[in-house]
Amino acid sequence: MKLFLSGDEAIARGAYEYGATFAAAYPGTPSTEVVENLIPYKEIYAEWSTNEKVALEVGLGASLAGARVIVAMKHVGVNVAADPLFTAAYTGVNGGLILVSADDPSMHSSQNEQDNRNVAPFAKIPMLEPSDSQEAKDLVGVGFKISEEMDTPVLMRITTRIAHGKGLVECGQRQEVPLREYKKQSAKYCMVPAFARPRREAVEERTARLKEFSETFPYNRIEWGPKDVGIITSGISYQYAKEVFGASVSYLKLTLTWPLPEKLIREFASQVKKVYVIEELDPYLETQIKALGIDVIGKDVIPNMFELSAEILRERILGEEPAKDNALDVAIPPRPPVLCAGCPHRPVFYTLKKMKVPVMGDIGCYGLGVMPPLEAVDTTVCMGASIGMAHGFQKANAWVGQDKKAVGVLGDSTFFHSGMTGLADMVFNKGAGVVVVLDNRTTAMTGHQPHPGTGITAKGEVSEPIQIEDVARSMGITDVAVVDSYDLAAVENAIRHALDFNGPSVVICKRACALLKGLPKMPPLTIDQDKCTKCHTCLRTGCPALVHHPDKSVTIDPNACTGCTVCAQVCRFDAIGKVGGEVRG
């Protein structure tokens, strides 16, 4: 049976077919669909963990219990999970453990671009790089075997075009794999220095075995063609190379890309006249191959940043002219993503902009608060950074006698992911920062996954919702306010009060994401054109339901408007109301 699957879906399918019973992840584009597609299988336990470090620890625990496990995250998630990962390389596993790292070259949905192939040699764990959906599925089975036989976590590294690119995949039946028996082995699992040193040596022995294995691993394969040019490549780059060079060259397609098959590489290179290494991002293969003393062409011609493409290869290697843009004598306005109509983050950013305070932002839909006209966010670094940065900003000022605060703004999912530790730090170190939690009752950016505050698990079970206000109070914070995000006056009062308060403050702005299903419908608003003075204050909210016409008049698109009333609250001329009635408060 052939199914048309994305790489993420294929990995999920592979986990199902090859007997996984356990999956843990924190969502992040482009990795989210791996675990999302495992949730429906009744044979597999799946959870959204609070963050990637926890997901990997949960996965390692399940592996020791004897289960075959998939843990998935985006590239930056691996930074968060690095601590358990680098030591899991020493402990090894019991049931097969695959960590999927989905990298995002060109940063379609990410704050940075990193080549996580570098993680494999750094952590000393084997790495598999599929080139399409079929391989993604098959390599899950291969990966579980390598993991169990070599006693190691396996890194499966994919990129956006593999994760979200779809292709036909031959699918099979599920094999049931019973839990392997757990045996207490402190010398293997307790990495105190005395036990860690022998395990460090065990890692080297394993690497030597993996090197041998890599030489004859059938997915590391040579495709002989004319021998004037040889191309060494892996992952999605293989497809671009095949697209451009077809049958006119020879290929060494690498799939187990750490440790590399040195003999195979030498053999291939010795038989072709000229070797190109075609890879996206870092000169990962190139550096290692050059270290073998083999002369190759790589990053001298191929860029080391952003996505690779067939076009780039045509231009840089074949010297072909890039296709000319159809010159148009009309300007094409950009269409950037925007906060949705009715987004509860909007009124909070509107208020913060008005208050002109430094805003240490975070990662989530609210990253869009940096765009005009809201332009309320000063910084975006990584998940959870808002709180630590707001604390540092306030402290650095206080240290030299300046009373200058910053507001840290983060989402509810981010609060549980990595906001809580920052908040504890602020309390412990006598900070006086202001933390605003945009509690939209979901992880919106990545497609509405539940989190510890929502009281529902990935599998749809009801659990105990953790209240953010309770967490803050239990840390000893006395200045905690909960307000309705749609109530502009309440939001402003709460933040003003917090800025004046001499100690740490938390303001929770609560209102469900407007895209969540099953919310009560509110009637759309309309603008009374007789009362409207065309002052355009409403446009400063940046709501996409407001339409600015060439004659400077503004109307509301009734299909887009969710009736949140934020525009009505900012209107000084009382011109915005419900169709045929006044505004709902």
Binding site: F4, P30, G165, A310, N326, P333, P334, R335, C340
Partner: protein
């Protein structure tokens, strides 16, 4: 025989439902026995941004991405997006455009102008241009505004060499059972536009 690969772009605005259309299209190509690859980017772009789905099919497809100037067919769900993706069209390619203007944020804010003459510009540049007002057709001829995507697929299908039965089979399998008839009607309505 040379490995001929056909390149199709589906473009529009996040939230317009290009995804269902892409699913039906790829289902049809699979059913017709082709190797198919499709690539789209999820995430940020869903929040009302410009979206594109690349679909490639033939005997054997390698890259999932369509290169500039090589698209045989572009189906655009919106006029400005048709202009934006025009550089991907082959000189002899065909463009099917939904006669709909969705104003992007800079236009809504009065910071940029919408190119209302988009269809005139396209007519000059694209060898073959088919335009239709899918919302109007869905509402007036089909009687269900939510079938716009399938109307557009009908217009796309005219430019592809795939039997009608294959399209109808996949449409039937891809939409909720209760809406099969209305979607088949929408597909037929779209086919009127060539």
């Amino acid at each position: 025989m040379a490995n001929k690969v056909t390149n199709v772009l589906l473009v529009g605005v996040g939230g317009q439902g290009t995804i269902l259309a892409a699913r039906i299209l790829s289902g049809v190509l699979q059913e017709a026995g082709y190797d198919v690859k499709m690539s789209e980017v999820h995430g940020m772009s869903q929040r009302g941004g410009s979206v594109v789905t690349f679909v490639r099919y033939g005997e054997k497809v390698y890259s999932p991405l369509v290169e500039k100037g090589t698209a045989d067919l572009i189906l655009s769900f919106e006029k400005l997006e048709a202009l934006r993706w025009l550089p991907y069209l082959k000189p002899e390619g065909t463009m099917v455009v939904n006669d709909l203007a969705l104003l992007p944020a800079p236009v809504l804010l009065g910071k940029a102008e919408y190119p209302y003459n988009a269809l005139d510009v396209l007519r000059e540049k694209a060898k073959k241009l088919i335009t239709l007002d899918a919302a109007k057709i869905a509402e007036e001829k089909v009687g269900n505004i939510r079938t716009q995507n399938v109307v557009l697929l009908g217009a796309l299908a005219n430019n592809m060499d795939i039997p009608t039965e294959t399209w109808e089979k996949v449409v039937r399998e891809s939409v909720p059972p209760k809406t099969v008839d209305v979607n088949l009607k929408a597909f037929a309505a779209g086919r009127q536009y060539q």
